[in-house]
Symmetry: C2
Subunit: 390 residues, 2 copies
């Protein structure tokens, strides 16, 4: 396998982009990544999108977007794994470069979610759960994550306030991200006083419905050192794992086994432990999700994740900053794009180009992107490549 690097990143301003079409949203991010990489071609492209069919009535996005980019006849492949579609598209791009099938590859993600009404968006998102055994009973994602939160609270003493602390931290981080959808400070009182969605989760515990895209450019590490105007970032690990899709089928509703499994594989590939990480970008689709994820990544002991945000452990300036970008909570969550935007943040941090939200001396960064209630997880670890000019 060839070693792989990321040499370009792009993203647009996320939000309710009513005046922009699905393809235009994607193209803005893709062109930004190609421009950032300083390349004049890509040899193949991957796009993560959860439900082009249900959100915008458009499948076949690999071909459509390769055409839109003016890069046909290059291969364009769409990958789907619910909210982990972006991370998984990146993983397929890594494999294609590693295998030697293609040299310069664009990995991207997009979702336009606000062109349907709220009920239709909730239905589209519910197709990430087990339709026959979960959704037919009437449950949707806030309800599923609410049950995971309840188990965690009952078993480990995690408090309502600790859930709120995750939102407070991530919105504080997102204030420094000019592309985030919700750049606003929130207090724990505001979170706990916001509208109830599914007890114990309230509106400000939930990531938003978002239109947006992100893209990155990959190539072999050796080529990156010669070709790129940007300092290359090495892909040190790429891991993907699954779990029972239906929550009730799992041994433990308060443990993300797919994240635990993918993280173990990734640490082994990279040859590091959680202690070596400079920062993480993780899938905080709900506040409880970040707590479960940091436990599964080994950033805290099991059951101890609740205290991490409030204690400052996972805040900027803390021992292991989590979601310096603002996370899904503040940045927004266009489901297919989220995994790629996490990688963009990791690359900017490792290049030392994250501006006001820069994590000092960042060397190792981890991204964790998951689908459903954790039925699939993709974990990547990135390292600042040695020998580059700074």
């Amino acid at each position: 396998m060839r070693e792989v690097a990321v040499i370009g990143v792009g993203m647009n301003k996320w939000g309710e982009l009513w005046e922009k079409s699905h393809r235009r949203i994607w193209t803005e991010a893709a062109l930004a990544a190609v421009d950032d990489a300083g390349v004049d071609r890509v040899d193949a492209m991957y796009v993560g999108c959860m439900s082009g069919g249900l959100f915008v009535g458009q499948e076949h996005l690999g071909a459509l977007l390769a055409d839109e980019l003016g890069m046909g006849p290059i291969p364009g492949t769409r990958v789907e794994s619910a909210c982990a579609s972006g991370g998984l598209a990146f993983r397929q791009a890594v494999l294609a470069v590693a295998a030697g099938a293609h040299d310069i590859v664009l990995a991207s993600g997009v979702e336009k979610m606000t062109d349907v009404d709220g009920g239709a968006a909730t239905y589209a998102l519910s197709t990430a759960a087990d339709q026959e055994y979960e959704c037919y009973q009437g449950i949707t994602f806030p309800g599923l994550y609410a049950m995971m939160a309840r188990v965690h609270m009952e078993r480990y003493g995690t408090t309502r306030r600790q859930l709120a602390d995750v939102a407070v931290k991530n919105h504080a981080h997102g204030l420094l991200n000019e592309l985030a959808q919700f750049r606003m400070k929130v207090t724990a009182e505001q979170v706990m006083g916001s509208a109830a969605v599914a007890d114990p989760l309230r509106l400000l515990d939930c990531s938003p419905i978002t239109d947006g895209a992100a893209a990155v450019v990959l190539c072999p590490l050796e080529m990156a050192r010669k070709l790129s105007k940007q300092p290359p970032v090495r892909v040190a690990a790429s891991a993907h794992a699954t779990d029972r899709i239906a929550l009730h089928e799992r041994d433990d509703m308060a443990d993300l086994a797919s994240t635990r499994h993918a993280a173990a594989l990734a640490y082994k590939q990279a040859g590091i432990t959680p202690k070596d990480l400079s920062f993480c970008e993780v899938h905080d689709c709900f506040t409880i999700a970040e707590i479960l994820v940091i436990e599964a990544l080994g950033l805290t002991a099991r059951g101890k994740g609740g205290a991490a945000a409030g204690s400052g452990l996972t805040a900027q300036g803390g021992k292991i900053p989590v979601n310096p970008s603002g996370g899904l909570k503040s940045k927004g969550h266009p489901v297919g794009a989220t995994g790629i935007a996490q990688i963009r943040e990791a690359v900017l941090q490792l290049r030392g180009e994250a501006g006001k939200r820069q994590v000092p001396k960042a060397r190792w960064g981890l991204t964790q992107n998951m689908g459903g209630t954790g039925a699939s997880t993709v974990v990547h670890i990135f390292e600042r490549a040695e020998g580059r000019k700074r």
Copy 2:
């Protein structure tokens, strides 16, 4: 890159499978492939599915089906490229094995299309075209292929009877395929006298709406020689190309540029020419499609494809049998599964296990799977692996 082989194939009886769920249809084919390969594990799986969202309200199929197979936490990845989803899922599996990321990989495809009414199925399929520039004008796939047929007829003198000859040939082939949806002989008169769909195309020019699945197992060629109870079949080439998605944007509406491009890449990888092929499985979603495809594959000169079926060139016993399985026309066309079923047929033929429909002395086989009106094409070439016992 490691060399890759196919060591197991599986498929179920295709048709209107009202009594079987989407996941059960898939699992039958997947288990059959695993059993045929004689393995007790798979390390990763890929599934091609065009629109789980619109056909059955279920996305996140990589995780769901890995779970259903009882193989979690292995990586499960869903790939979509409209009607080329199956072929493209296979290509990603080839890359994963070639890269060394996984050893034993299941590549599969599934679609359950008959649980929605006809209008909803037509809408779901139309999301493979350019929604904004084609579908909003009211056109659907029979109309798009009808225009391609009209151009071919006007320019090259292709006749209505020649279109019918493709259906006659493929239904004759399909009579010998016990898993085909429509095992019936049809005459040219029956085709030309069937209900008009989009002039000049009639009902019997069109592939059907189908429920079905297919699966194959891949591993490194070296491992296949040691491990497999089945004679291995080598993946000699894997190529993927795109074209303008909207028909009106193309330089030539009667030429499948993506197929031409992917085929050229594939012949180069395999080190063969069209003359070396023993048979082809191609994407005859409409009768005109097979004519366009065999021209783009170089089996006939451009404009000369119309005469191929009637002259016997592409029939069983002819110089280059096309669609010995019966093709999409007779076998059925569960869109995500079609590309994998083509590969199953190629493997059976190259093993010499195709029974009554066996192509004598088959050594090289080609599969061509396309999405939309040819906006994407995946071409694979397979070779009977040397040194195996027969």
